[in-house]
């Protein structure tokens, strides 16, 4: 069965290839068949392989396609490695990706770049699959950059508008900062291990370094830089809200299944190194905690539906980082999976809403859509509940609760992390339901022009189901202690050690979390349903704070001041390119010679003969003088 492993990334690639080469000639019906079909087939292959993998209870599948590079000891193969961690990732990528593809078939139907869109999507999925299946870090980096390229292409998909191109460039450049750090980290890894094979590194690292070694710390921090860039964490989070310029399915794909989770994957994949550098772990935790709170407050003030979701993504990834930081590896991955389901659901539903309202993004111009778009309302509600982690019925509750619990009870956990996470959960609950109330309740402000069809509803319903049910595979102690997920991951990711004296108070923490979530919903209802004037008052009384949060804590302004302006200034100084002057001189010199020599090419035969004669005389004279 493992011989089929290569098919998983290859099928989306083949789809992309067909669409790129023949896309303009294909009929409108064939494009989604190829685009979604290739990913669907890939998902099917994933199911087969996954079933085979589990039923044979193998440790890992390995497949080498070909030797890629072989130079000076660096010999990465184009090889795929399947273990429980990557299995979960490819499962999420292919299935959520497939649902998003189906959704896109209807969503993008009127767009001119229909085939182009599916080609990019396929390539995106392919790159992400290569990333998670790579058996060495070089191939992983290849997929990593492929993901970056595709995100650039897709964010700037509607390239005729300048601000979309700007957003795409911003995403590309900001993530490039992280990628550079990661590349340096990879060089250092190679220098230390003389290999970039992940399994070999994982096996050798504990022998090479003692815990707390400086090299490990530096490498871990550099890798973290890459992860931070890709996953839009502090301080490189600024690109993600702008990335909403792309079509909604793209946002769904970026936020849920691919791209931003790549950072989580990278840290989980290289957890061996992080475990050897406790400081790095702490940094990961701090970054996660800070990000989740900051992004949460920023989300509170947004009025663009998709921007709220974008900040919520940053915030949720912050939870994952926090979990990684405290060593709760499987909790992070669990939250990743659940988050993929409900965030894809939310984005797709938001896309449907926006489409229904003539590409209206402003939540304050929406309202009263409960009746008009019932399917979307109910699915959005399920997604929102899951995001807000309403207790018991939602999957989000189980995953987030696990993180909350482990930030306190895990051996690396502390009370500050717990409090931050709790604050984040409260804010999450508020902005989530603020979004829901503003969009679906109240008076109808914009006329609904387009009711989504079956192609968009089915993915929504499937994702809604997953957002509810997927949580029950991992239940906390107080709910029957089901550990299917973490057991599955345990061969790859070590289980977290829980401090003994916290075991007894787990139910208390769950209660607090549930209370926080519900009180958040109540606050949202208070401000936006019962007394809407209250929110305006609050807004005017704390206008500066609102503005600060609205701009995402002023990070864009800060970076603009710190990096962009000086760089533009330098560029404007060097407009005439000082270094080029030397080469301009060379060009001028060549031009001069050209003019001189072309002057001799006068076309007048007698001059040529004259040249021959003079040459002859010179030769003869030389011969006479020397002879």
């Amino acid at each position: 069965m493992k011989e089929l492993l290569w098919l998983i990334p290859f099928l989306p690639f083949a789809g992309a290839f067909i669409l790129i080469t023949t896309g303009s000639r294909l009929s409108k019906k064939m494009v989604p068949v190829i685009g979604a079909g290739s990913v669907g087939l890939s998902a099917l292959v994933t199911l087969l392989i996954g079933y085979n993998f589990i039923s044979t209870s193998s440790a890992s599948f390995h497949f080498t396609a070909w030797q890629w590079i072989d130079i000076a000891g660096l010999s990465p193969a184009f090889a795929f490695h399947l273990d429980p961690l990557s299995l979960i990732f490819i499962f999420v990528i292919t299935f959520v990706g497939f649902l998003i593809h189906i959704y896109s078939a209807e969503f993008m139907a009127d767009d001119d770049g229909y085939a182009r869109f599916f080609a990019y999507l396929n390539l995106f999925v392919c790159s992400m699959l290569i990333l998670v299946l790579a058996d060495n870090l070089v191939l992983l980096y290849f997929g990593w950059e492929g993901v970056g390229l595709c995100s650039y292409l897709l964010i700037g998909f509607w390239y005729t508008e300048e601000k979309n191109g700007y957003a795409a460039r911003k995403a590309f450049i900001v993530t490039r900062v992280g990628d550079t750090a990661m590349a340096i980290g990879l060089f250092m890894l190679f220098q230390n291990f003389h290999t970039l094979n992940i399994q070999e590194i994982a096996a050798q690292a504990p022998q090479l370094w003692v815990t707390g070694s400086n090299t490990a710390l530096i490498i871990a921090l550099l890798l973290l830089g890459g992860a931070v860039g890709k996953s839009a964490q502090l301080p490189l989070q600024t690109w993600l809200p702008d990335a909403m310029a792309g079509p909604s399915p793209v946002s769904a794909l970026i936020h849920a299944a691919t791209m931003v989770t790549a950072g989580v994957y990278l840290i989980a994949r290289t957890h061996v190194i992080f475990e050897l550098a406790p400081i790095a772990m702490l940094v990961v935790g701090i970054i996660g905690a800070a990000t989740l709170v900051i992004a949460g407050f920023a989300a509170l003030t947004q009025f663009d539906l998709k921007r709220v979701l974008a900040y919520s993504t940053i915030s949720q990834i912050g939870y994952m980082f926090l979990a990684l930081g405290v060593g709760a590896w499987s909790a992070a991955i669990f939250h990743f999976m659940i988050h993929a389901f409900f965030k894809a659901l939310l984005f797709l539903a938001a896309g449907a809403v926006i489409m229904a309202l003539h590409h209206e993004h402003d939540m304050f111009k929406m309202g009263g859509l409960k009746k008009k778009l019932p399917v979307i309302y109910w699915t959005f509600l399920i997604g929102a509940a899951s995001l807000a982690a309403l207790p018991i019925v939602t999957a989000g509750f189980y995953s987030k609760d696990q993180i909350l619990w482990l930030t306190l009870a895990g051996e690396n956990g502390n009370i500050w992390f717990f409090l931050m996470a709790l604050l984040g959960a409260f804010v999450t609950s508020i902005y989530t339901f603020r979004m829901l109330f503003l969009t679906f309740f109240g008076k109808e402000k914009t006329h609904v022009s387009h009711v989504p069809g079956r192609g968009m509803n089915i993915p929504l319903l499937v994702l809604a189901g997953l957002s509810t049910l997927a949580g029950f595979i991992e239940l906390p102690h107080s709910f029957g202690h089901l550990t299917i997920f973490s057991d599955f991951l345990s061969p790859v990711l070590p289980a977290v050690k829980v401090q003994e004296d916290f075991e007894s108070i787990e139910w208390m923490i769950q209660l607090i979390a549930a209370g926080v979530a519900i009180s958040g919903v109540y606050v949202a209802q208070m401000f936006y349903v019962i007394k809407p004037e209250l929110s305006d008052e609050l807004k005017s009384s704390a206008a500066d704070l609102h503005k600060f949060w609205f701009s995402g804590w002023g990070f864009d302004g800060l970076y603009n001041f710190l990096f962009v302006r000086p760089f533009v200034f330098l560029a404007s100084i060097n407009k005439n390119d000082i270094i080029d002057k030397f080469y301009d001189g060379l060009v001028a010199l060549a031009n001069l010679f050209n003019r001189i020599f072309s002057f001799t090419q006068s076309g007048i035969l007698r001059w040529y003969i004259m040249g021959i004669v003079i040459g002859g005389i010179l030769l003869l004279s030389l011969g006479l003088i020397n002879g």
Partner: protein, 102 residues
Amino acid sequence: MNEVQTVSGLLLAGILFVLGLVGVLIRRNIIFMLVSVEIMLNAAGLAFIVAGSKWAEPDGQVMFIFILTMAASEVSVGLALILQIYHQLKTLDGDAANKMRG
């Protein structure tokens, strides 16, 4: 009775060659240039004949015959070119045929 010095023959060839060269250099008329080239070729042939005579070998004359055939074909092609040039440029000025100047 044959007491002609080889040097005299070679000098004659040299003088004729230079005269042909002068002709090529100073005349603008392409027919004159062609004629002057013929003079130069002829002078070269003379040098061969002189050398052949010095050693009493036929090789000099053989070379002369080769030069002759070359001159004949050169003249035929050259005249055809002259006809075309005159046809297209309406002049025999060799300098006018510099249309491909860079």
